[in-house]
């Protein structure tokens, strides 16, 4: 066991665990941030997607000892009272079915939008290629990402 310092959603946190414990389990079991989901443990399904310094990563295979950047989880995506444009778009398009994969989908999409605010279908397919949706909400996910991009751009124009 060793102490690991992390910054999660802007909060400085410390945890005393084995260094090989994946970030996913630190978030879920130790910090009680359960929005990030376990799906496979081998970086195949994307349910565990979080951001490190704004880049989408699969937290289920990332040892906590190797985490150096700022961690953002789905719980930290909204800014104050404002939902992230993707979260609003997910609600507007009534995307979820079971909902279990959606945090990971949104985190992957958020990393995409931060680099590319006018993604094509192909850009979306590439950025979300690592995220399974077993319920099959892919059609709505694509639409919602496009809608969020338009919110995103409107926001930028307004600010």
């Amino acid at each position: 066991m060793s102490k690991h310092k992390l910054t999660v959603n802007g909060n400085s946190l410390e945890v005393d665990v084995e260094g090989d414990m994946p970030l996913l389990w630190v978030l879920r079991d130790k910090f009680k941030l359960t929005g990030t989901k376990f799906g496979c443990g081998i970086a195949q399904c994307g349910a565990c997607t979080v951001h490190i310094d704004g880049v989408a990563v699969r937290s289920c295979v990332l040892p906590v000892s190797s985490v150096t950047g700022l961690v953002t989880t789905i719980e930290g995506l909204a800014q104050g009272e404002d939902l992230h444009p993707l979260q609003s778009a997910w609600i507007e398009h009534d995307v979820p079915q079971c909902g279990y994969c959606q945090a990971g989908q949104i985190m992957s999409a958020a990393a995409l939008l931060s680099k590319n605010s006018q993604p094509s279908d192909n850009d979306i397919d590439q950025a979300l290629a690592g995220n399974y949706c077993r319920c099959g909400t892919y059609v709505r996910i694509r639409r919602a990402v496009h809608t969020a991009a338009s919110f995103y751009n409107a926001d930028k124009r307004n600010s």
Binding site: K32, F38, I91, C98, G136, R142
Partner: protein, 747 residues
Amino acid sequence: MNNKNISRRNLFKVSAIAGGGLMLKLSLPVNALEDSRTTLVKSSELNFYVQIASDGQITIYAPNPEMGQGIKTTLPMIIAEEMGANWDDVEVVLAPIDPAKFGMQGSGGSMSVTRNFDAMRRMGASAREMLIGAASELMEVERRDLKAEASRVIHGSGRSMSFGQLASVAAQQPVPVPEQLSFKDPRSYSIIGTSVGSVDNLVIATGLTKFGIDVDIPGMKFAGYTRCPRPGGKAISFNESEIKALPGVIDAFILQPDARSGKASMAFLDGLAALQGGVAIVGEDTWSVFSAKAKLKVSWDESGASKDQWSKMVTDARAIAVKGGGEVKLAGASVTEALSDGNNRTLEAFYEFPYVAHVCMEPMNCTVDFRKGSAGKPDSLEIWLGSQFPNQVKEIAENMLGVKQENVVVHGLRMGGGFGRRAVHDFAAEAMAISHQSGLPVKLTWTRTDDIHNDYFRVGGFENMKGAVSLDGKLAAWDQHYIGFADDKGKRVIGSGLRGNELSMVAFDNARVSQTMMPVATACGAWRAPGSNTNAFVEQSFIHELASLAERDHLEFLTELMGSRRWIKDGDISALNTGRAIDVIKLAAQKAGWGKAMPEGHGLGLAFYFCHAAHVAEVAEVSVDVDKNYSVKRVTVAVDVGPIINMSGAINQVQGSIVDGLSTMALQEITMQNGRIEQDNFHQYPVMRIASTPEIDVHFIQSDNKPTGLGEPALPPLAPAVTNAIFAATGKRIRSMPLSNEGYKLV
């Protein structure tokens, strides 16, 4: 920031979230809600479903478990409609598990809407009548001059009172007699038939939903369980001292199989499942447990273990196909004659479909707090899980641990997928046994490998098909021999075999349909549209094969087969209605542009299937290149499930069924090697990714029939629509799933 689609109340919730606090309204236990309510509409029935606070907030309890099928939104919509509520005033709360109040709280078979439509309308209508009664009293006017609309009771003069103002007096009104309630004219609906977002979208999009796997209770420890890789095996010993010395491990022990936990390992709707033998590990966190699981070395007693071998099943089935015979389901009068009539053209084909797994995105898990009784207090148990039939786990507690059902509290949580898997509670039996043995409150979480290996699989199977068409191109005979599986007691496993009323051939007078069962030890269960999802592939492919043999247009051949418009069993929703079938077939074909010229390598494929009281037709547009890379461009769907309750939810279910159907037919197969399941995780059992998603064009025929469910029936026609389209594009017939085994690559 564009928040135009979020109501003021939702914004309030969001600010609570963003402040780091809990979402009080949603996290309040039900008792607290009841204690804190300002007023309550009281009646023998209504208080269970509808509460109205003096500030106008309407709370409606959603009785049935939610697994992504949308029922938590759909059923309350029906109540709100009949009440005359404004949907924005409604807060939906998942009802506690209490069958005495909420009836059969189960989700399965696409039956929730079918079963509950009238009951929910009565709940809403009864609340409305009590509100109108209160308004009549307070406004001193005649009841007949009042109507309920937009959360107000309005008098003909224009005077009105809000539901909130009326609530406390309404609660004192006599409870209407159910038989005397009248329902709204569907033409005046303002909620039913509209698109309503799922009530949990906000908490899902912000990561605050609590699934079973997210449960956290005081003192809770984490658990894992490792069964024998060959089902039916028992643990003899394991490297106990090594495992117990691992960091974060609290306890490790063997559990013996326990038949008392269930009637049979292949039980379905009774939800009972025998505890399988294995090794339990309890630890401080999930990772410590998973790491220790990976280091387990177990000596197994495999004397009673499964020897199932998929390759042998295929060989055996082919031999049975040659022999013919089987239990007869339909006996056409002159099938043999027509098949041997030299004037007819005939065809024989052998079809094969694999076992597949459910792979719910949320692996199976269950949290249990077993409390040993003392000083005259009996043993008790509290259970948290996502289940399609949560109340049934109480029976496991009683049978296996002797805890009386009245001392068992079950909390049903939102499920990260069900698809039939969460109708069986083997994982709950494990969690109960682990909490009981360790004396600790534990959350059992399965690894993905546990989740695949321990599945109750969609049963695989085979069908040997023979058909004849006459010289004038008409179907002359149909001979269908289904070869499936039965358990060690000879009982057909769930999903194996054919259901008489749903077969298209009930519309045709010279069909022989028979079935033969082979033994299987691997556990099988309900998998989205059990039986239908595989038979549709065979039936609808072979109809197309015969249409091609007859050199007929498939659309014409299929509608001709349905014959005159009739209900095969009048009034029975589980029986095919050929008129409704013809309507959806024609609509799907028309919307897809059936008959249009297609580019080289492109094809349209048509399929129809009737199941779960739904008539569904689909047309797939597919492109295939010379290397067998194929892409499904578009799927056009026509559905008749009667009136639609929630348009957005209904379309979502159809879209999801298309993706699920495509994912399964293209990629998925479970195989057994000496009993062991050969697929361990998603690298060997992939799910379709977003790039392969077709455009999906959904059309509803909102017929006059009663509304029925839509969680399953749009899936079965997808596979044959796609393979029929591949045939149209290439001339190559596919008779086996998944297509990846035939060298086809979905792009």
